[in-house]
Amino acid sequence: MPIQTRRGEDGQTLIISIEGRFDFSTHQAFRDAYEHGDQAIRYYIVDLSGTTYLDSSALGMLLLLRDYAGGDSARITIENCNNDVRRILTISNFEQLFAIR
């Protein structure tokens, strides 16, 4: 599975890891990863350590997650980007919308 989810130790954090290419082909899987989540989830971590590539439709999917998680009040952290992925997030200035570590 290119997308895996697990619950953080605090029980309130959903960690979504994406392996390989994060593009339109992962659209449904990415939505499934958070849409069936339970009410206890308050924080989201998108772990991109295994992500090799990210395109503009993935940026759109991140925005959908942000919307789902409460828009401006969403608490989402994007972690462990490689240089190429980080570059795309930077060009789009997504650090204004997400905590990127």
Binding site: S56, S57, L59, D67, I91, Q96, L97
Partner: protein
Amino acid sequence: MEESVAENRPLRILIADDSDSDRLILKTLLKRLGHRVFDAANGLEAVALFRDTTPDIVLLDALMPRMDGMEAARQIKSLAGERMVPLIFLTSLSEASALARCLEAGGDDFLSKPYNRVIIEAKINAFNRMRLMHQTLSDQRDIIRERNRQLLEEQEVAKRVFDNVAHTGCLDAANIRYHASPLSIFNGDVLFASPRPAGGMLIFIGDFTGHGLPAAIGAMPVAEIFYGMASKGFNGADVLREINQKLKRILPTGMFCCGAMIEADFKLNQLQIWNGGLPDGWLIRSTGEPEILPSRHLPLGIRSPEQFDAEMDTIGAVPGDRLLMMTDGVLESGNAAGEVFGEAGILRALESSESAQHPFDAVIDGVQRFTGSQGDADDLTLCSLEMVDEAGFSVLPDRVPPSALAGPTEWRCIYEVRERTLGDFSPLPLLLHICMEVPGLRRKSGEIYTLLAELYNNALEHGVLELPSEWKHTSDGFDRYYEERRRRLGRIEGHFIRFSLHHSMKPSGGRLRVICEDSGPGFDFHNHPVLVSGDKPRVAARYAGRGLLLLKRLSESVTFHHQGNHVEIVYDWHFPGAVSEREAAVQS
């Protein structure tokens, strides 16, 4: 269901055998299985019968007089063309090479004599299934081909509609070069350029997420907003705010538009740039030195209007400086080895180009060399803008007024902008709009805008904000000027700028009087060099010579009142045919 019905329906079978008895046996056997049979006694007859009866399956004896089975098979296959007609050889041959020759001639299988009823039935059924499958595949292929043709045709028409909206601007101006594939709109790319009423240009280059129809639909309102607002004199930041608000409202979450707005002012020799999500822009100085203009904003359609930041970066740029902007298709151009062109590719192309080569050509050549294909740069949009000398540069055609009689002719209006509104609102589009209601003024929109803009900017920057214009004469001062302008705009208190417009008719045309007053301390206009004599102007505290000269040249008269914070200009227009003294002087 259709297939099973088709599978059971009687087949039309052509048989050819020179032995009358063998032929009769086979014919009887096939008829008993429920098929319709056409029979021939040699190859020549078989080919003729095939042409007349278009059978579903052909059974051919290999050895026949006049034309043997091999030659008949070749001709039948060629007559069948794309249609699949299973062709089975009837043979008593058992030698491997003879059997192989039958297949080479186009046969699909053999049946050996003497005939076995069960095997014949099984083979005919098997080949019929194959034939039907082939038929289904080619039908589907034809449907797909037809749908695709329709889709392309629709895109062509849609593109023509879009072109009528999008290409009303000045993309063909001499100082703009661009590459956009003919159907790039369906890749989500847009490129617009419009002259500004006050001179200069506005350019927007954008890239919607996604492809096809959704991206193209998003592009339409952007084009309308861009051209509508640009022609009314709104600045880049205003247009960006409007586009962002519109896209935020109409696009689903997850869809947005990366874009860049470029506002070029050839009078002030400056560029204003806003880059939200596009790759780095490049400003190549006339000296060859490159400067990078990175994306500093979120793409359009993400932020709510209150959170959207439309502030543009101001950069001094002189004639000969060239700006390059591109969509990410340029960076993502791939070669056969699966590598992408990338920013490194741009840098290589710019560095390795000869000094005489236009950076636009350098990048296009670079992409084509990299991808190894000629003119195949399909999914990318690249645009370059060259700074030019304002004198002798005009992109705005003179429009003919529809009628000199319709519209308001005798009117007066006073519009006052106060306090903080001075910092975040420009009254110019509104004032221009009011003046443009007069048909006689409409074809003079450029001049009117310039007059209003000169008056307003002088009143704001030198009157209200008390910024010394001589700062703008050095590049350090230029930065300082705009820094200070921003700072002082933020804390305006107790100030106003008031426009009084008065239009009336005269026998030969009309007269517009514009009075611009501000709450600033004014200036010593009695000793201003431009006002005292017609000599070449020196720098003055409030009106730099150029602005004032421009006002004098465009209008009948410029008069200062009070302590210099009250300016009145008179502008006359004339019915077609009647030429004013001022115009006559300009034309001669």
